[in-house]
Amino acid sequence: MKQQELEKLVEGFLNDSLSSSEWDRLNTELESSRESRDIFRDSIELHGGLAEFHSLRDSIIPITDFAEDLPRQRTERSLWPLAATLTFAVIAIGVLGLFVWKLSLTEVGIAEIVSSDSQPKGTLKKGSFSIDSGFAEIEMSSGARFAMEHGTTVRLISGNRIRLVDGTIGVIVPKRARGFTVETDQGNIVDLGTRFGVSVDSQKQLAKAELFSGEIEIHSDGEITTFRGKNVITLTDSEPPRRVDGSVEPQNFPMPKTTEVIPIVKGDFELGENYQIADSSEVRLGVWGGNYAKIVSESQGISPYAGEGMLKLVSSGPDEMASGRRFCDVLQWVDFRPYVLEGATISARAYINRVAGDEKTDTQFELKLSAHRALGGEKLIEWNTSRLADSDPETWEIIQCSGQLLPDTQYMVLRIGASENQLNNTEPGEIEFDGHYIDHIEMKLILPARPAVR
């Protein structure tokens, strides 16, 4: 029998598609020819190896580490229809041991399109995935998210593992999905809690990873290299992963929805150095300024919401008081220049509390956010919210405020305070605020999933 015909029969055997007459021809050939049996045996061995290789990729174990885990991995497989025939042969032959297959995940969704300008939302199964146009944000079942555009092809391997075949992706991995792996032909990028971008040029057989924050491992040719902080790394077939000069450029990668915690200086109002609230007329980044307020420890039967310190609002100031002003508030200028704000939402929240007092005790707190193009300049837009604090000093209430930012925002002002909604004290010596406290201010920037900025 010609080798070509034998190969066709072997292919039919492996694909479970032989007709009765072909079975006869295969049996006759194998019975009579040692050479054909060798070819047949080689083919089965290769087939078993391929099945083993691909089922190992479903595991959470890095592919480079599979040698030690091979025997253990093999115990949990179940049969694939074709494997029934093959396994029968393999066991009888006694050559390969049990090459049986992992329970098929083919019909199970392992990822989801969560946002896209061109694709309907929906579940994705194992296999190759690309989009005809536009942009898509994918969330894996592990919680890892990546964004991709038209021209990029990925293979979804398991709930926490993909292969980037060609193109560019941006990745954000929450803690629960630590270990998320992006395979490339030049090496595997294993997340250790971070955000990064990967691009693959399949024609040039070149991959590049840009680590924006956190830590990744790159597994290549059995070696593991760890990178921390901002790094640009190239991966090639011929060299180990290498850090290269140049700054990371997240804007060159499509990115999934991102939540950035915006640092508010002294937002926890913790004790420590003798921190003074500055004069509100001073326009400086990262300092609290405003009316008469001070950081205190437990006071008037009220314990801080968190830690040992909190902000006590005292008064609007002697001159303002006489003029009938009804507020005591503090503010901080925050730098937003590092952020790409197209479609971004800003959100701030704080905890408020007050003494029980009596019917003349003011109850209202206010939180304001304003966006500015210049430091100390006019506001572009402002949002504010107010909330009444209850009379139970043991409980803290939350006040929060949010709004959609304009792209040309450069600075934000966060302003929080209490207002005299019950009695407006105007005489010198009168106490405007009987015991009003603020603690644990947070500000978050929610950046929507976006395509690369070109």
């Binding site: 190969e7 066709k8 072997v10 292919e11 694909n15 479970d16 598609s17 032989l18 009765s20 079975w23 006869d24 295969l26 049996n27 194998l30 019975e31 040692r34 049996r37 047949f40 045996r41 080689d42 083919s43 061995e45 290769l46 087939h47 190896g49 391929l50 099945a51 083993e52 290789f53 691909h54 190992l56 990729r57 592919i63 599979f66 040698a67 091979l70 025997p71 694939w80 025939t85 029968f88 042969a89 009888a92 032959i93 006694g94 050559v95 390969l96 041991g97 297959w101 098929s104 083919t106 199964k125 194992k126 296999g127 190759s128 293979r155 391997i157 075949v165 032909d185 399949s202 077939d237």
Partner: protein
């Protein structure tokens, strides 16, 4: 003797079993390691088909439907891909240092 239909005959199984050489786990690991390398050397279309077959666990008919090919074309392509892999794996295993 009447031949059993649609499976390897007992006679073939016996011969294959007699001729089988013991294979230890090290050589299986070497095979899979070589395959990992050789898969990256396959042309993209061939690799994609191998992945659809083994990773996505699709049948040749499903692959044919997905890529809009005749089923026989898929069989031929798979056979060629296996031949390429076999050649590459053999070369790679010969390079591997002797234990």
């Amino acid at each position: 003797e009447k031949r059993q239909r649609n499976r390897l005959s007992d006679a073939v199984m016996e011969i294959l079993a007699d001729e089988a050489e013991p294979v230890d786990s090290d050589s299986q690991v070497q095979l899979v390691t070589a395959l990992k390398h050789c898969l990256t050397k396959l042309p993209p279309r061939s690799r994609s088909m191998i992945e659809m077959l083994y990773e996505d666990e699709k049948k040749p008919a499903q692959i044919a439907e997905e890529i809009n090919w005749e089923v026989n074309g898929v069989y031929v392509a798979l056979s060629r891909a296996r031949s390429q892999l076999k050649a590459c794996v053999n070369a790679k295993l010969k390079q591997a240092p002797a234990e």
